[in-house]
Symmetry: C2
């Protein structure tokens, strides 16, 4: 049976939300064993409050916790007994997947050092699933694993994103778009122009052209390819403005009784909007290209988001995402990145 | 008296909104003459519907219009009789400023060819003024003039942004932040790491550190420095999500009578939020570093946004922004961009 390690420490609501999320996932899907990583004593004390199938719960005892404030490389080195490092190490043994709400930086370092990348993949990437305005889903990568990218990295991102969209989200022949500062092929910085040329010359990518950032969640594409610096800025810009809108609205309402009543009547709609755009509901960001399935759930994840992340990891394992990516990378010719190279 | 050329053609609501915006600006500020650029016959026909001080209105007849669909460099070359090109040319003569709702690309090309940059400025940049969640204003540059930037360009952006924030917005000793994928100095791509080093070593910049994209509009800084590719992605991400939220809300409300009533009661608050975050209300984006004041108002600008852009151009002229930038660039030593360079 598949073994999914759940890091019970490191998030804002850990360990309780992480434990509850794991137990809920066990109820929803009977195809895996949950390995709860962290201080076993503390975890067992919390578990006493719940009913669950004990035969599908294992423990990975770890006394240390890596915080988001620590420098990632140092933290991974200095805390071998942390749930995060032990979770990464378990992937080198018989575990199939790891879900963590801990420090993104430390998780990337831990995975890179202890798990490694799929043969042929030039750089693994962080891939979140975002809700679209049409009610569907879109994946974007990289949103932060690689601040500096070469054209080949983005070509691999396109292949891996396409595999994820088709195998895990069930999207047939996913439409790939390249994030740029204009839709025309001639737009973009030097990196993006080269990648655009390559995408136009690769029959393996269902390339629908460049998109502007305002259309990331339009629903007109299934995979958005970008370097890790730009992707990080894009996703955090969206987070910032969306948080800002709801905060401003709340403040404005507080000044008026009528508005307060209005907000009550609109509550369902307001929640619907918040939920529609809340990408944490879709699970975590996958560290795609790593040799095993690794999912980074948001640090502020509640139990439901952790359940979603675990089930997402399960789907990725079940659909052999790692092997499919390995084959895809091995069997796809690398296209030219410029007319000169093509000559 | 100052002469401000107003491009009456090229925006979604042109020429009427542009003409109305200009007349309103004339009413609000008696310190300038408006030169209306575009087909004189058509403009005069519209003007017949308004009362205004004819002694402060001049005309710059131009029969052609450059559209946003045209390739900028070609369009500028092929349409010398367009309001956009003639407006740029007027800046080479006695006009002090140019406000346009036309094609951003064509305006940048036109300015670069016909107006030129301030001596010493390595690259002019597009600078919009954004509203902050604290009720203030923040400027960001570059949001699209330069897709590929060198560290020196961003150093000049910081100086020009600081001058703009202090001279036009009246912010004393503006706080400069560098857009990155994390707040720590070590974060960022290669470009940003070099610029961070330079900002830390320049006493002329009131550097408050790196910021993440979610904090652009937090109100914790006055000038956000970024390259034109990343800045474009950031601003369009914000636009996209903000438009998406209101569209989703509208759709959700349409399904429920209670929610509709709620929305009516909340109307003031909803409008307040929309207005708070609508950066077009703050005027247009300044093409800063050009030899004359050039303001690009949003293509969808209504009369009020055009009025705001004209008054913004007026303030920039009145405060001699071009001369202040020239002096600032000439008198500020360029800091080292790395420890090696500093050794």
């Amino acid at each position: 049976m598949l073994k999914i390690v759940v890091d019970c420490f490191g998030g804002d609501n850990s360990p309780i939300a992480n434990i509850e999320g794991a137990l809920e996932a066990l109820k929803k899907d009977d195809g895996f064993i949950a390995v709860l990583a962290g201080d076993e004593e503390i975890i067992k004390k919390h578990l006493a409050n719940y009913q669950y199938d004990a035969s599908r719960v294992e423990f990975l005892d770890a006394k240390e916790v890596i915080t988001c404030e620590e420098q990632p490389t140092e933290a991974v080195k200095k805390k071998p007994d942390s749930s995060l490092v032990k979770g990464c190490l378990a992937l080198g043994e018989d575990a199939d997947a790891f879900v963590s709400t801990g420090s993104t930086g430390a998780l990337l370092v831990g995975c890179t050092l202890k798990v490694g990348r799929i043969r042929g993949v030039s750089r693994p990437a962080l891939l979140p699933t975002l809700p679209t305005l049409k009610g569907g889903e879109v994946v974007m990568l990289d949103v932060g694993a690689n601040a500096d990218c070469k054209p080949l990295n983005l070509f691999h991102f396109a292949l891996m994103g396409s595999v994820y969209a088709s195998e895990v989200l069930g999207i047939e022949n996913p439409r790939v778009a390249l994030l740029s500062n204009g839709t025309e092929d001639a737009k973009g910085n030097e990196l993006i122009k080269q990648v655009n040329y390559a995408f136009r010359h690769s029959p393996s990518i269902n390339f629908v052209g460049n998109i502007e950032a305002r259309d990331i969640i339009s629903g007109d594409c299934d995979v958005v390819v970008t370097d890790g610096f730009t992707g990080n800025v894009a996703i955090k810009s969206m987070e910032g403005i969306s948080g800002g809108i709801f905060a401003t609205l709340k403040k404005s309402i507080s000044h008026s009784l009528l508005a307060k009543i209005g907000a009550l009547l609109m509550k369902k709609s307001l929640m619907e909007v918040k939920n529609t755009l809340d990408y944490n509901k879709k699970g975590g960001a996958v560290f795609i290209g790593a040799k095993k399935v690794v999912v980074k759930a948001h640090g502020s994840s509640k139990a439901s988001a952790i359940t979603a992340s675990i089930l997402q990891a399960k789907r990725a394992c079940q659909n052999n995402i790692v092997d499919v990516i390995k084959d895809k990378i091995a069997n796809t010719p690398v296209p030219p990145f410029s007319a000169e190279e093509n000559a």
